[in-house]
């Protein structure tokens, strides 16, 4: 099987966010593979173990994204592709999916996996957009996948309910939490990853004119939510606190 994973480098979930010059500040932030993309990588490796083939991880990002690609290689992916976004003045989900579609245009792929959402921008757009541009079906928020020949049986999370889907390859899926437990890279894995192929592509290599993939949306302001005032810690005997709380929720906060 030709298995591809699209992944994104994101802020670590433990990071506090600060804003400077109307932008999220990246100074001294720790970066990780988007956690949902880790499920996609794990599932890709599992599919390869069961069916044979090659796992290729692809990202659109700056040169620092090489670190996350190496991590994916250390987990067990075979090769990596870094499509540089450094020539792009503006980038949104239209841009990213168009660039990825240009990359996949002449590739043979059986399945493309990604996370169902990136924890930074949180749009979840790139997967389904890419599927449409490649004219293949997609299934989002999957929690289980079984491939038998070209038939694929999937379970997906739909707002807490479970939907069982039948579809076929080629296919794009996006991972939901619960799909698997991503492995940690092993030490031999990390050593091997250093020698695995990592290709860097410029937009020119994909025959992309940057004007054609210019962002369709524009960000006019980035700001932090107002800081919450300190709340009220109740005191007294527990039953009295409970009575007071119910009264506050009804009469002061008016939410009940």
């Amino acid at each position: 099987m030709n298995i591809y994973v699209i992944l994104k480098r994101t802020f670590d979930t433990e990071e506090k966010i600060s804003v400077s010059n109307n932008k999220i500040s990246e100074d001294s932030a720790e970066f990780i593979i988007n956690p949902y993309d880790e499920y996609a990588i794990e599932e890709a490796i599992t599919l390869k173990d069961a069916h044979g083939g090659t796992v290729t991880v692809v990202t659109v990002g700056d040169e620092d994204s090489e670190k996350e690609l190496r991590t994916a290689l250390a987990m067990g992916a075979d090769q990596a592709v870094l499509i540089s976004n450094e020539d792009l003045d503006s980038q949104d989900q239209f841009t990213t999916s168009s660039v990825l579609a240009a990359y996949f245009k002449d590739k043979e792929y059986d399945i493309i996996l990604g996370g169902n959402v990136a924890i930074d921008n949180g749009t979840g757009q790139v997967g389904p957009r890419l599927a449409e541009l490649l004219d293949i079906p997609h299934v989002t928020t999957i929690t289980k996948i079984e491939v038998n020949g070209t038939t694929v049986n999937i379970e997906r999370d739909v707002e807490g309910d479970l939907e069982k889907i039948e579809t076929s390859l080629p296919l794009l899926v996006t991972a939901q939490q619960g799909l698997n437990e991503p492995r940690y890279p092993s030490l031999p894995g990390i050593m091997k990853a250093k020698k695995k192929p990592l290709e860097t592509l410029e937009l020119d290599d994909l025959d992309i004119d940057e004007d054609d993939v210019e962002a369709k949306t524009k960000t006019v302001e980035v700001y932090l939510p107002p800081k919450k005032e300190a709340g009220k810690i109740l005191s007294g005997e527990t039953p009295d606190q409970v009575k007071e709380l119910v009264s506050l929720l009804r009469n002061e906060a008016k939410v009940i």
């Binding site: 956690p35 389904p128 989002t140 939907e163 980035v222 109740l234 929720l249 906060a253 939410v255």
Partner: protein
């Protein structure tokens, strides 16, 4: 400039979802006095159309087809694409629901348009509508616009107030015949797992448990409180990782981001990754044994105590006042 705006309405268990009424309100504002029409898809939805008009839609198109009984990307895509080609709307509003998240990017790709997902607020700025949306799971916000071409947005449930229902409003309801070709994904079965039927994303009240709940059974008192309040039950990552509950309940930066009117956090310490998923709730109550727990830093009201003592008392007290 007045715009013609399409709203995709959604129903579940034979009733319209609140987010559809909220989407109509958002569409009204985007339209700037133009026309707002709602599209309703399913196998039998005709009877729901009037309510969309009561909530502000100028007219409703219904698309009924056996292949629309369950949502599939292909079935809905083909239906919406046909209607968009016929109607040429200048703006489209979906709910940021499971369906909206799945379908909107695919349509936007075909329409070669921008798409602003998960909008929590909007305002007019000259000719443009500026949309507010959370980033980094609500640790920050951004304001975005689509300056030319189709304006396409999905709105987060529970954030934009619907218009007042007015049963005297009338408007055309037109049935559209749609041609649906092969579906490449087939829904074989839907297994109901959401216990209360109250969806986390749309819930007005959420009762959430963390590691302090200690076991699967420990969620029972939380569920009893939720039942009394008509609330949904959620969980922190800690509780999910410890197998006390299903991952579908997880609230946080990984997991669901929620903004209910009332969030009751029980035995949740308040790791930054959990706070990202709930700290924009309107009113937060924290119940925790540890007075130093960081959940208290975002709470409006806190009780320092054992949740297994406090929560049942709270349930009894609410029972008394809510009868």
């Amino acid at each position: 400039m007045a715009k013609k705006v399409l709203v995709l309405a959604e129903s579940r268990d034979g009733a319209l979802r609140n987010v559809s009424f909220e989407a109509i309100a958002a569409a009204k504002e985007i339209s700037g006095g133009g026309e707002v029409f709602a599209v309703l898809c399913g196998d039998s939805v005709q009877s729901l159309a009037a309510e969309l008009i009561h909530y502000g839609a100028d007219r409703v198109l219904t698309a009924e087809h056996e292949k629309l009984a369950n949502y599939t990307p292909d079935g809905y895509f083909q239906t919406l694409k046909q209607i968009i080609d016929d109607e040429s709307p200048e703006a489209i509003v979906f709910g940021h629901t499971s369906l909206g998240k799945d379908l909107s990017p695919r349509l936007a790709a075909r329409l070669e348009s921008g798409l602003i997902s998960d909008v929590t607020g909007l305002e007019q700025a000259g000719e443009n509508t500026v949309f507010t949306r959370p980033v980094y799971s609500g640790k920050a916000f951004e304001k975005k616009l689509i300056s030319d071409g189709l304006v396409f947005v999905t709105i987060r449930p529970n954030n934009i107030a619907p218009l007042e229902k007015d049963e005297s409003r009338s408007g055309d309801v037109t049935s559209v015949s749609v041609d649906i070709k092969d579906l490449r994904t087939i829904v074989k079965e839907v297994v109901r797992k959401a216990s209360t039927g109250v969806d986390l994303a749309e819930a007005k009240i959420i009762v959430a448990g963390g590691r302090g709940v200690k076991s699967e059974d420990g969620f029972k008192p939380l569920q009893e409180l939720a039942d009394v309040l008509g609330a949904a039950v959620g969980a922190s990552r800690g509780a999910c990782d410890a197998d006390y509950c299903d991952y579908s309940l997880q609230i946080g930066q990984t997991g669901k981001v929620v903004t209910p009117d009332l969030y009751i956090a029980c035995g949740i310490s308040g790791a930054i990754q959990h706070l990202a998923g709930m700290s924009n709730s309107k009113v937060i109550v924290a119940i925790n044994k540890d007075p130093e727990a960081s959940i208290f830093s975002v709470a409006d009201y806190g009780i320092v105590g054992d949740l297994f003592e406090v929560v049942p008392l709270l349930t009894e007290e609410f029972k008394k006042v809510l009868v």
